[in-house]
């Protein structure tokens, strides 16, 4: 995870007066699973399409594998980038094998590359079936096999778990982990943190077209500054004393104080002791990444 395989600089896309993506600075380290998160309509698909040069940025730059992604370089770069954008591709009137042969012929691949890709998504027993008879999960896997056949260094997947049942989602997670283990950098978008939380080693959170967080999971937790939970002899008096800090009583009879850093926490404890309130315990609230994500995307940033 040393070099950066995808980097954008102030990437912006506007349609008339509407800004869809604004000053995005992505940095995706090579070899990671990058979870690209954000609510529906936050600009994830637009960003991914700009990375693939399917749409042109209004301003800013995209650099992939150290080369600028432009109309001039896209053809050679796309040979090393597998992608699955929007709904899974596949010609319904053809079999899975016939669909894979189209990709093989277009990209000049050999049979072994196709067989490996099909085996990776465990679709080898379904290749004789027409795609119209596939389940959604099978179509997703076929789409990923098409993306993998070129043996890409970078795989860009736009909401690959959309519409999948829990078993399908778990299967997708396993696949992403396996690909990352094989050295493929995977960028995967979702509007649900839980779907890629356990797979992604890096996270980027997009809200209303702006990057509001980028880093590891633990950095995300730290950056979100969880509430300080104080257990004391007189919670009601403590909450009143800390009213200026927006303290509140919890259902468990504790006092929760939001937005405190370590120095402020010490000051709050001192203030309570000064008021004659005995403090038994001080701890940071335990919150799930889902809570953090919801907080970030609802509040528009850290």
């Amino acid at each position: 995870m040393s070099s950066t395989i995808v980097a954008t600089e102030n990437l912006t896309k506007r349609y008339g007066n509407r800004t869809v993506v604004e000053n995005l600075n992505l940095a995706i380290p090579e070899g990671c699973v990058y979870g690209f998160l954000g609510p529906n309509g936050s600009g994830k698909s637009t960003t991914m399409k700009m990375l693939l040069s399917l749409i042109q940025p209004t301003s800013g730059n995209v650099e992939i594998m150290g080369q600028p992604m432009t109309r001039g370089t896209r053809r050679s770069l796309l040979g090393q980038i597998g992608s699955l954008i929007e709904s899974p591709p596949g010609y319904a009137h053809l079999t899975g094998a016939e669909n894979m042969r189209l990709v093989q012929r277009l990209l000049g691949l050999d049979r072994q590359q196709v067989d490996v890709a099909v085996a990776t998504v465990r679709l080898q027993d379904q290749m004789g079936k027409k795609v119209r008879d596939y389940s959604l999960g099978m179509k997703q896997r076929l789409g990923i096999a098409m993306a993998l056949a070129r043996q890409p260094r970078l795989l860009i997947l736009d909401e690959p778990t959309n519409g999948l049942d829990p078993a399908g989602i778990e299967e997708m997670r396993t696949l992403l982990r396996r690909l990352a283990g094989d050295g493929v950098t995977v960028m995967v978008s979702s509007h649900l943190l839980g779907e890629i939380d356990k797979t992604a080693t890096m996270l980027g959170v997009l809200s209303a077209g702006r990057m509001i967080f980028q880093g590891t999971r633990s950095e995300l937790m730290v950056a979100s500054t969880p509430d300080v939970i104080i257990t004391c002899t007189d919670p009601q008096a403590a909450a009143a004393t800390l009213g200026s800090f927006n303290a509140r009583l919890t259902e468990a009879g504790e006092v929760a104080v939001p937005g405190l850093d370590d120095r402020q926490t010490a000051g709050v404890v001192a203030a309570l002791v000064g008021e004659g309130i005995g403090v038994y315990g001080v701890a940071r609230d335990e919150q799930s990444l889902e809570d953090v994500f919801m907080h970030l995307t609802a509040g528009g940033g850290l």
């Binding site: 399917l54 896209r74 796309l78 899974p88 010609y91 016939e98 070129r150």
Partner: protein
């Protein structure tokens, strides 16, 4: 042109019943051509202008059959891209939508060329072997008419590829095909200037023969008009597919 993309277009034609549509086109025109001569009370296989009867039949049959079935061929080949997210799949492999349209035109164009020439040769063979026409075949006129029909067919095909690619709802493309059939047939009764205004009007302009007075007579072929149509259509097709190349997904 990317030959791999063209090969893929042929591969995509599997299960689309392109062969069946092609057979219908050939058989329908052959039937209409034969009906024209059989239903004519003045037709005689020994008459010096006997071949003009079959040419008149083809001049009626092709405008009646081809416009709609060309729309069907183009529509089926394009609709699979709309339905299967094929535009994005190919674009992420480096093949732009304009490039795909050009590949589809070449693949379908080869088939339409085979259908047009095949129909022409089949009518010729039927005239010789089945109808028993005795005078020598007017090869130059026959070949000229076949070339004109081929040019118009390819122009109409190109137009339908663009319409089907631009408009997802293929009923619109098929509706235009029906409208084209009406224009192709009724342009025969319009002044030549009016027939020049739509691609389908050129079917009427390029009539090789017609029934006049007491029998079938050969008509001059409008080579300059057909050549101009081909040039204009090539330029327009190139410009529009170039624009498709730069269209955002």
């Amino acid at each position: 042109m990317n030959t791999r993309a063209v090969s893929n277009e042929f591969a995509k034609m599997r299960h689309l019943r392109v062969g069946l549509v092609a057979v219908v086109m050939v058989v329908a025109v052959l039937g209409l051509s034969l009906y024209t001569v059989v239903s004519s009370p003045t037709f005689s296989p020994e008459a010096p202008g006997a071949w003009n009867g079959l040419l008149a039949g083809m001049s009626l049959g092709i405008p009646l059959v081809f416009p709609l079935l060309l729309a069907v061929l183009a529509s089926r080949q394009i609709d699979i891209e709309h339905q299967g997210n094929g535009w994005l799949l190919q674009a992420t492999s480096g093949l732009t939508p304009g490039g795909m349209c050009r590949a589809k035109f070449i693949a379908l164009g080869l088939i339409v060329t085979a259908i047009t020439i095949g129909t022409s040769l089949l009518v010729l063979a039927t005239g010789k072997l089945l109808v028993g026409i005795i005078p020598p075949v007017p090869f130059v006129h026959w070949a000229g008419f076949t070339g004109c029909m081929l040019a118009v067919n390819l122009v109409v095909l190109a137009g339908h590829i663009l319409v089907s690619a631009k408009i997802d709802n293929q009923l619109v493309a098929l509706g235009i095909g029906i409208l084209g059939t009406i224009l192709a047939v009724f342009s025969q009764g319009l002044p030549a200037v009016a027939a020049h205004l739509t691609p389908w009007g050129y079917y009427a302009l390029a009539m090789a023969a017609d029934y006049r007075g007491s029998g079938f007579v050969a008509l001059p072929l409008p080579y300059p008009s057909i050549a101009a149509l081909a040039v204009v259509a090539s330029v327009v097709f190139t410009i529009i597919t170039y624009r498709f190349d730069h269209q955002e997904a």
